[in-house]
């Protein structure tokens, strides 16, 4: 089985977020980058599927050379080879176009990625890739097993789960508990050194969305502590001061 896992290179979840250039650019100074946590689940499951029934796992990232340490980590976790499409991932459509363009003739049985990135949280790329390739796209997939050419999966839906069965190939947007994150081991890190990381030029594609400006949420206000016995006071404040009831 040939699996493609698309990974994002995103600020660590604890990174302090700020902007430059009149709030039009993300300030990456001192920010540590990681594999998108949802992508990391997808990758972990892909490696498990490969270990269970053979095949290959290729990781793909649309990004500049700065993302290579993140790609190397994916190789250390167990991907066999990697592709970096050398472009700034400006919007979901642009990224989806790059992925689809690479995947259309590459013969993947399964394309996995996170349900969403954790920088812009668009959650659209898997759907767009599906549309561009004419394949089903399912998200968020929280359980995935493959038997022959058939996949059995569980998808989270409002208030419950949906169990699905479908034929390969398709696109899966993944989330926990599809697998546990894998910590690369030292042997994996060593062998990642010599695994192939191919850099491809981006295909012609335009962005569908242009970013105008960022804005941070307003700073948290002061906290007022109200005695547990004093419910009347709480109601009064919620009504008159917070104006929420």
């Amino acid at each position: 089985m040939k699996i493609l896992v698309c990974i994002t290179h995103v600020p660590d979840t604890t990174a302090k977020i700020s902007f430059t250039d009149d709030n039009t650019k993300f300030n990456s100074d001192g920010v540590q980058y990681i594999i998108g946590p949802y992508d990391d689940y997808a990758l972990a499951r892909a490696v498990e599927l490969k270990e269970a029934s053979g095949g290959t796992v290729t990781v793909l990232n649309v990004g500049t050379s700065e993302t290579e340490p993140t790609i190397r980590k994916a190789l250390a976790i167990g991907a066999d080879d990697a592709i970096r499409i050398d472009a700034e991932p400006t919007d979901s459509y642009f990224v989806a176009e790059q992925i689809a363009n690479h995947a259309k003739d590459a013969g993947y049985d399964l394309i996995m990625m996170g349900r969403e990135s954790i920088d812009f949280n668009g959650g659209m790329v898997h759907g767009m890739v599906g549309e561009l390739l004419g394949l089903p796209a399912i998200s968020p997939v929280m359980k995935l097993d493959i038997e022959g050419q058939t996949a059995k999966l569980a998808r989270e839906i409002e208030g419950g789960k949906e169990y699905l069965e479908l034929d390969l190939p398709f696109i899966a947007g993944c989330q926990e508990p599809i697998a546990e994150w894998k910590i690369p081991n030292m042997r994996g890190i060593m062998s990642a050194r010599s695994k192939k990381l191919e850099v491809l030029a981006p295909s012609d594609a335009s962005e569908a969305v242009k970013l105008q400006q960022y804005e941070l949420p307003p700073a948290k206000g002061d906290v007022k502590m109200i005695d547990a016995d004093n419910v009347g006071e709480l109601v009064k404040l919620l009504k008159n001061e917070a104006k929420v009831i």
């Binding site: 910590i183 081991n185 030292m186």
Partner: protein, 395 residues
Amino acid sequence: MNNQSTDRFESPDFYVLDGLLTEEHKLIRQSIRDFVKKEISPNIEEWAQKAHFPYEIVKKFGEVGAFGPTIPQEYGGGGLDYISYGIIMQEIERGDSGMRSTASVQGSLVMYPIYAFGNEAQRKKYLPKLASGEWLGSFGLTEPDHGSNPSGMTTNFKDKGDHYLLNGAKMWISNSPKCDVAVVWAKDETGRIHGLIVERGMEGFTTPETHGKWSLRASTTGELVFDNVKVPKENLLEGKSGLGAPMKCLDSARFGIAWGAIGAAMDCYDSARRYSLERIQFGKPIASFQLTQKKLSEMLTEITKSQLLNYRLAQLMEEGKATTPQISMAKRNAVEMALNIAREARQIHGGMGITGDYPMMRHMANLESVVTYEGTHDIHLLILGKEITGIAAFE
């Protein structure tokens, strides 16, 4: 749930040492840090309080590659450089010195001599199983009556034609109660020291546990007792003999300790920094008082100095140029620094600092072993003294 079960550790890097590390070094550090946060931090307090050695950690260390990172990959090792080895020890000891001891004994004191002084058959037989954690090893040099002076050892073996007959006892041996193999240093009939690989199950070989330790409580320590043990001749390490052989192993382990102790110091510093910002007295965080700031500033200064010393030592190790006195300096410096920081950091935590909700008391008690084993603090001082003056003051 105590504070340590949610591990919020952030490492200080005041002189941007990261700028000297490769992306691979940083990935190694992050991986081992994640491993420690997942496998060690949530449990270590309980293990230490109960003096429980979590045997299952041995396999997990094997899986992540903490055993013998510098041993070539063909023998199951990591094939990594000394900076990587140092980083791995630092991150594990950030979790706990006892856990780091388990790993450094296995890597530097068991796998290293088999790799460096063993023949091909021995390497093939033992190293992959030790690397994967299928087997646990121990290193027997110290004896009840010979600690700082190992050359006085009385453990000995006689050539009986088709085997060696080993007699004697070793004491204070890390991993001993659970070890599958032991690299044992003993004198032949001429009084020359050799290394022998002794395996569990050999008749007359026992490993009684040492109880009642107040230090390295999550690591298991015991004796190695040899009562007419028949050791096959193929278990002799032929590559090197004399006291220099075990000393060479200690060089590698002490290097790991020098890095490891910084991990313990960083953990204490980081906890103190955070606590001082959160703890309010006299209406403000205790971090606003000059005396707290003095403590924190001095801690960061000492950690930074030790980091730079260790980094340079790793380069020298990598080039094969590091000398024993240089390693002595680094081990001694780092452990003393860590002990001082553990004490100061504990003070910053006030009464809370004496509980298991915070790591300082555990690190502090652990470091009392670390300052003693692998050459005591004073012996390292005297090794430096000899280097400077040419006169040995310890004989």
